[in-house]
Symmetry: none
Subunit: 225 residues, 2 copies
DNA sequence: GGCGTTGCTGAAGATCGGCTGAAGACCGGG
DNA sequence: CCCGGTCTTCAGCCGATCTTCAGCAACGCC
């Protein structure tokens, strides 16, 4: 699980990074508001641990900006017990949970896992695009109610495109997501599979579901074609 | 009522087993986190009594993994009063109730009964998929009203698939849920048992109940095939 | 229109993943 | 101890799937 710790006290940030890594988390750190916000928006974290007192941009504002940008990452706020900062306010700005300083490390880990579980269960498992439905959990795809048989690679590509429906996705990103090869894999492989995929899911009427974005990659039409 | 006691102190575990058996419960025990988790997933218990301090995998983690796997078994956590382990955390990770050590045996029994009552009214013990019925509590399976005799392994696999009916389930997950081997167990074992299972439950008409999801694992058809 | 670049696609061979029958180990009951 | 049922391992088979390659098509720029 990927965690971002935004904490300006370097010693605490480092301690958290080590401790959480030992617990099996993948941990990144940031030491001020703006860089924390930037990292949170750049990378797909599962949870952000967010201190409130931060240089540049305080935790409340980082939190509300993240939410304003449409992120639904889990946010756990660290509040100083005595300060003027209020736990209720943390939840108001869009945090999922809070913890008062000083806190026990064990409690933090438990809360993180609880949060991750809640987050995980709210991730959408089906993507509906017009009459095209991609069900990630069942690993099935239907067009106008009819099941479409896809090979593992085809489904993996479609699934990845569906998670970013309407966005252009590069072939390199698809290669990284679907294959675990090194960086010297052949984009033509993607082309071949996309070609097969199209034959199966493109409706004979309508436009193409998988659109070519020349020079970049592909985009799954937000309305399914 | 079926109870699993996960407790590393053998003397306490044994005492609980005897005492609860005398009270009319059916009791199983496990002495560490991983085997406790495996047993809890393998068998259809009504309640799991879960110590927090456990070798291998602590109680919080057993609890959250159980919940993550979709189990809705009743969970009663045993917390040490003085430690940094917190009752609130127990509830956060998905436990239904907790009891601080040391506790009175009478109180434990009372809590167990109360919990069992609450759980009983919410836990689906039967999964109905078309004319295929899987009864987790009775550990029986019927096809179109006719009982189907299954071996323990076959039933455990079917039960696990039924709990996630319609979803693709990986062989690894099945191995983890049904066997308590390490991570180097052989997926072919699953294949062999699934093959046997199919011979018994696939209706000669209709589609396959247990569908192969190539590259992933299996899926139990939501309509039973 | 010409040209270089980028993407598409059919074919072929290699590879992979899954199924199954058989053999022997294992286990619990009699 | 023997027996029947169950489980695991193994190896062969088969079809599905993947990759590679080469030629062709489409595009955008000049």
């Amino acid at each position: 699980m990927r965690v971002l710790v935004v904490e300006d006290e370097r010693r605490l940030a480092l301690a958290l990074q080590h401790g959480l890594t030992a617990e099996g988390f993948t941990v990144d750190t940031a030491h001020d508001g703006p860089s924390g916000l930037a990292k949170a928006m750049d990378h797909a974290y599962d949870v952000v641990v967010l201190d409130i007192m931060l240089p540049g941009l305080n935790g409340y504002r980082v939190c509300s900006r993240l939410r304003a940008s449409g992120s639904d990452v889990g946010i756990l706020m660290l509040t100083a017990k005595d300060g003027e900062w209020d736990e209720a306010e943390a939840l108001d700005t869009g945090a999922d949970d809070y913890l008062s300083k000083p806190f026990s490390f064990v409690v933090l880990v438990a809360r993180l896992r609880a949060l991750a579980r809640r987050i995980g269960s709210r991730a959408p498992r089906r993507t509906v695009l017009g009459d095209l439905v991609v069900d990630s959990a069942a690993r099935t795809c239907t067009r106008a109610g009819t099941a479409v048989a896809l090979t593992p690679r085809e489904f993996a590509i479609l699934d990845h495109l569906a998670r970013r429906a309407g966005e252009a996705v590069s072939k390199r990103e698809i290669l990284d997501a679907v294959w675990d090869d090194g960086p010297d894999s052949d984009p033509n492989t993607v082309e071949v599979h996309v070609s097969a995929l199209r034959r199966k899911i493109d409706s004979p009427f309508g436009r193409a579901a998988v659109q070519t974005v020349r020079g970049t990659g592909y985009r799954l039409a937000a309305d399914g074609g």
